[in-house]
Symmetry: C2
Subunit: 321 residues, 2 copies
């Protein structure tokens, strides 16, 4: 059995796991990231968590085939350098070489969303598929493209930004500067905005009982209201799914992946989201008689996708070298 | 020197060429397609054109490493079958096996737009690039994706339909049934519509001198008017480029290809189109400091892209087998 280390470096926690070649997590540990602090200190804690795991497993670095780490921001995977991370307030940090040296095994770096997409595609909801697009509906809309088992990161290394695909030309201003991006409508942030706007226009909606103030409105509020039969909530959910379907149909027309999986907070609504979404998407996508259609699924690995995906990075690189 | 046959089967003409392993066309011939007529008759004429080329070259089928053919419509490349072609009025025609049998060398099939994209990416404007997206601005908006030298055709075999990506939710109805597709705005058809609409609103525009009736408006009209300094024409061109930039930025954010090349009639405007397009796209795309950006270029092979791309299909399949 070959074993790998997978690390998911987030703004809140450093998570790490020992992962086997069947993509199962054997041991998992974490430490708070404690930002803001210097990159060197964060690296030292990553090393400490990894050593802790190895020690518990009764292993040394020599028993490990390699490690991978997912990190928020723009990364240069070839050099193992974090080019820029707004989240960590890092610029040009040679993260992978530092970890490789300190831990004593090869280390590989990828953007955290891409690492999670790789995990979900290879070991989760799209396991065995020839191609998959993983769409995470959180604060933003993160997308990872996996074709033939490999991440498509493009010429710049930062591809798959379908969240910043304009679907409403001249629409809501997005954080990226464009107007009408999918992210402005299909993120949890977009859903919260739409929910609050609808509440403003409908003072008798039961949504007010679920979330009496702006700060209490979240990505679940409208779905909860819809389950209670509230008409305003139902309209918000239908509108949200409409925007998401528009983006999903665009992605499918462009790439025709075997599987499109939805993750993130809003995807936890499960079939309440997926069933109407599929109806809308299949009515819109390009194609014809006898054509094989993209399956639309829910992600299954949750936060573990990032750990397993980081380990898969190490596995693929070890196989290639 | 290895030699291949490339065929581009269109609604108007059957074109075929003898192509060498440096992707140069050695001999080229054509015959009218003469639709509507049975698939068998069209196949017989394809075989006749190919034999004519071989005879002129003093070669036999045994001297050829293989042939490729691009055909409009939905194709099943693996089986070599044209699943459905509206253009040819064909359904389930086993085109590649028929040609292979009649000509006496292996034959491979791809959608015509994809074959042309493969040619342009490998032997034209994107030669040597790690990845390219070829966008053809004609009656519709055709797109081909080439990653690592190979077409990305997706799970269904019909991917890369970025022309049917909604950029104006609730906008103009597209032939595909969706509303607000890129194709409705960035095709020659879309530009002609916008030109005619602007003429209706501006009876004093010089566009009326260029095209006195609806039937005389074409994809060049607005660009011609803009060159003459007509304000209405300038606004039409700016609006057209705005829509195209929106779509191009969406494609670049999604795939970050090394090169995005524009072909088709409207791309013949050259820098009058490309220079303002680049300005708008680079202002919109996601990315940051030091990032490598997608180059936006004009296609260079014209109709020959389809012939050379079809030959490359044969070359790649011969190499693989």
């Amino acid at each position: 059995m070959k074993r790998y280390i997978g690390v998911d470096l987030g703004g809140t926690n450093i998570k790490a796991a020992l992962v086997d070649d069947g993509h199962q997590i054997l041991i998992e540990k974490s430490k708070p990231t404690l930002l803001p602090r210097p990159a060197g200190d964060v690296c030292a804690d990553i090393v400490a968590v990894v050593r802790d795991i190895l020690s518990q497993a009764g292993l040394t670095a020599g028993d490990i085939c390699g490690g991978g780490i997912g990190c928020p921001g723009m990364v240069d995977g070839k050099r193992g350098v974090v080019s820029y991370s707004n989240n960590l307030a890092w610029r040009d940090i040679d993260l992978a070489p530092t970890l490789a040296h300190a831990i004593g095994c090869p280390f590989y770096l990828e953007n955290d969303a891409n690492a999670a997409a790789l995990g979900e595609a290879r070991a989760g909801s799209a396991k065995g598929a020839e191609s998959a697009v993983i769409v995470t509906l959180g604060t933003g809309v993160g997308v990872g493209i996996v074709i033939g088992g490999r991440l498509h990161t493009g010429y710049s290394g930062t591809a798959s930004e379908f969240g910043h695909m304009v679907i409403v030309r001249g629409g809501k201003r997005c954080t990226c500067g464009r107007e009408g991006c999918l992210e402005s409508y299909a993120s949890a942030t977009g859903l919260i905005r739409m929910t609050w706007e609808a509440m403003g226009e409908n003072p008798n909606s039961r949504l007010w009982a679920i979330a009496p103030s702006r700060g209490e409105v979240n990505g679940r509020t409208a779905f909860e209201g819809a389950r209670l039969g509230d008409e305003t909530a139902r309209r918000v959910v239908a509108l949200y799914i409409d925007y998401l379907a528009c983006g999903a149909a665009n992605i499918i027309n462009a790439l025709q992946p075997e599987i499109l999986s939805l993750g993130g907070g809003i995807a936890k609504e499960g079939e309440a989201l997926l069933q109407p979404l599929r109806e809308k998407v299949y009515a819109e996508v390009f194609g014809g008689r006898g054509q094989r259609h993209t399956l639309i699924k829910q992600c299954t690995l949750g936060y573990r996708a990032g750990l397993i995906g980081a380990a898969i990075l190490a596995e693929d690189n070890a196989d290639a070298s």
